[in-house]
Amino acid sequence: MTTRIDRRFAALKAEGRPGLVTYFMGGDPDYETSLSIMKALPKAGADVIELGMPFSDPMADGPAIQAAGLRALKGGQTLAKTLAMAADFRKHDEDTPIVMMGYYNPIYVYGVERFLTDAKASGVDGLIVVDLPPEMDEELCVPALKAGLNFIRLATPTTDEKRMPAVLSNTSGFVYYVSMTGITGSALPDTTKVGAAVDRIKAHTDLPVCVGFGVKTSEQARAIGASADGVVVGTAIVNAVANVLTADGRKTADPAEAVATLVGGLAQGVRQARLAAAQ
């Protein structure tokens, strides 16, 4: 089976550049604004979209993404609405891959089979569920693969050689390398270490390897993109939304425009990555 994700990474490979994978929080600060941000992403140069599913207790996320999730929940976002957002987006864009990212509990409560059916029908291509390691594959990973969705796994600096095959075994679409031990939005690690880690993963798999956690600027995107097949940016995008909201949630500027400006710069970074590396 090939999915939009497989096709997109094949196209990027042919183009000879890494992809830009952009994360935003579904429903932050409200459904309509958030949908306008989602629609702006591909136009600004995003190659893959990670659609965040808000959760009240995001254990692996830093303060920025936690706050975005709470804003979304306060704005009335639910898992059903996040699925509807994917479907709304799909009406206008047939090609950009959508990966839903979040935590297991809302999916578990929604019902795994029902969720997979609805995700597929909404034009979702893959899932990243932070609190489901390979040990828990029977919960969602195996049913998702059967339903024709990619299940994208996180590999981390603590994933050693012995464990890597288990982590990669049911992974599809791409591998998301979390470039440090820590929460989202922390400091960017040494880019040379990132290159070595990408090589380490590539020794085990032919899947594209995307790197995230800590990428904020165009320069960083370019540096990471020199070795990775994709650069993941999340916290910086969520912050771009937060920066145009007042404490009581009023907008001081258009969040979609703020995100588009940021993503435009990051997209330039990834497009220069291989040129820079070649020089």
């Binding site: 709470l70 929940l73 409560v109 932070v130 996180l154 603590t158 994933t159 929460i183």
Partner: protein, 406 residues
């Protein structure tokens, strides 16, 4: 929901995947997975190591003051006019609650693993104080995460932790409660995986925590078996304990799970009543979900977002419950019932006046259930209740409610 088939023994869990039936498991981020497997390996070695066991027993005896007494509450028994009531007096332990049993076991495990730093979460501060205590005793730096609201409400315990050399980090993220403190501790752990040991305070979290916390707390139930045989020549008819995360309760219950004639009752915080959201009765009023590394009963909305919960007792103020309790509920082995804030408050005062023992508000919940049940039982029947903490920490809260400015 279909009832699972009854097992041959209720004492064999968890299985190799860390499951108690459908509950438990290892729902954590990949970064933590290698650590949890490492912890499991060390734990499996330690639990079969006679030297490890001997060191715990030695510390339990000379540092904590175990065995804690089994006390016949004569005046309360007379007052209620039914079953004989015994208290397992874990409130007499060093640091004032059962929490020390678990902390001593885990600090030895941390040392065995070569860790350099201890982190813990706390609600009311009892587990924070016990963690800071063992960290001081064994010479480790210790960081305790505590919801900002609790830091304010529990000032004496915050100062105790500081005196013991721990750093207390107030948690403002989320809603600044115990569950947010646990989230923050997990974030610290995920960031400092190499050198840090996460000392979880209750029989919850990813496997193997529920199992190892239970094992360290089971000293309570093992002692009760021996002491009861000495006092009455037989096992009790009923066990009662409060459940927040459920560590004191599982510690009392576990050694008795296969004794069919022993009825077992867990008491949840009913807060201001189960009709609204201001309670912590996850087993009675919640439903299964996944949080903090395990599947268990949770207080949550229909979208799977976790509710805050409320209890007069900060130690019961958690929207989840240890996974083994979820399994014991579904299998029918243990009855779980709610007790409201005002019932606990009344029991708190009753015990203080009748027996001269000021209980913590957590066991006051268990006591309120004893007050309901004992009069309906015959005079030759026996109830053992776990008096798992002393009330010193609660006198300010209770004083405020009763209108005494302290």
């Amino acid at each position: 929901m279909n009832k699972p088939a009854l097992p041959n023994s209720f004492r064999n869990g968890p299985d190799e995947q860390g499951m108690f039936g459908m509950f438990g498991g290892r729902f954590v981020a990949e970064t933590l997975m290698p650590l949890i497997l490492d912890l499991e390996n060390h734990w499996n070695e330690a639990k079969n190591d006679p030297a490890f066991k001997a060191e715990i027993e030695q510390l339990n005896k000379h540092y904590t003051g175990r065995p804690s007494p089994l006390y016949f509450a004569e005046r309360l028994t007379e007052h209620l006019g039914g079953a004989k009531i015994y208290f397992k007096r874990d409130e007499l332990n060093h640091t004032g609650s059962h929490k020390i049993n678990n902390c001593l076991g885990q600090i030895l495990l941390a040392r065995r693993m070569g860790k350099k730093r201890i982190i813990a979460e706390t609600g009311a501060g009892q587990h924070g104080v016990a963690s800071a205590t063992v960290a001081a005793r064994f010479g480790y730096p210790c960081v305790v995460y505590m919801g900002a609201t609790d830091v304010e409400r529990q000032a004496p315990n915050v100062f105790r932790m500081k005196l013991l050399g721990a750093e207390v980090r107030p948690v403002t993220s989320g809603h600044g409660t115990l569950k947010d403190a646990m989230n923050e501790a997990l974030r610290d752990w995920v960031t400092n995986v190499e050198d840090t040991y996460y000392l979880i305070g209750t029989a919850a979290g990813p496997h193997p925590y529920p199992e190892l916390v239970r094992e360290f707390q089971s000293v309570i139930g093992r002692e009760v078996r021996e002491q009861m045989k000495e006092a009455e020549g037989r096992l009790p008819d009923m066990l009662v304990a409060a459940v927040g995360g459920g560590s004191n309760a599982i510690g009392l219950f576990h050694p008795f799970l296969d004794d069919e004639d022993v009825q077992i009752v867990g008491v949840e915080a009913g807060g201001k009543g189960l009709s609204g959201e201001e309670h912590c009765a996850s087993l009675t009023a919640g439903r299964p979900g996944v949080l903090h590394g395990n599947r268990t009963y949770l207080l949550q909305n229909e979208d799977g977002q976790i509710n805050e919960g409320h209890s007069i007792s900060a130690g019961l103020d958690y929207p989840g419950i240890g996974p083994e309790h979820s399994w014991l509920k579904d299998s029918g082995r243990v009855d779980y019932v709610p007790i409201m804030d005002d019932e606990a408050l009344e029991a708190f005062q009753l015990l203080t006046r009748l027996e001269g023992i000021i209980p913590a508000l957590e066991p006051a919940h268990a006591l309120a259930e004893v007050v309901k049940r004992a009069p309906k039982m015959a005079k030759d029947q026996i109830i053992v209740m776990n008096l798992c903490g002393r009330g010193d920490k609660d006198v300010f809260t209770v004083g405020k409610i009763l209108g005494h400015e302290l």
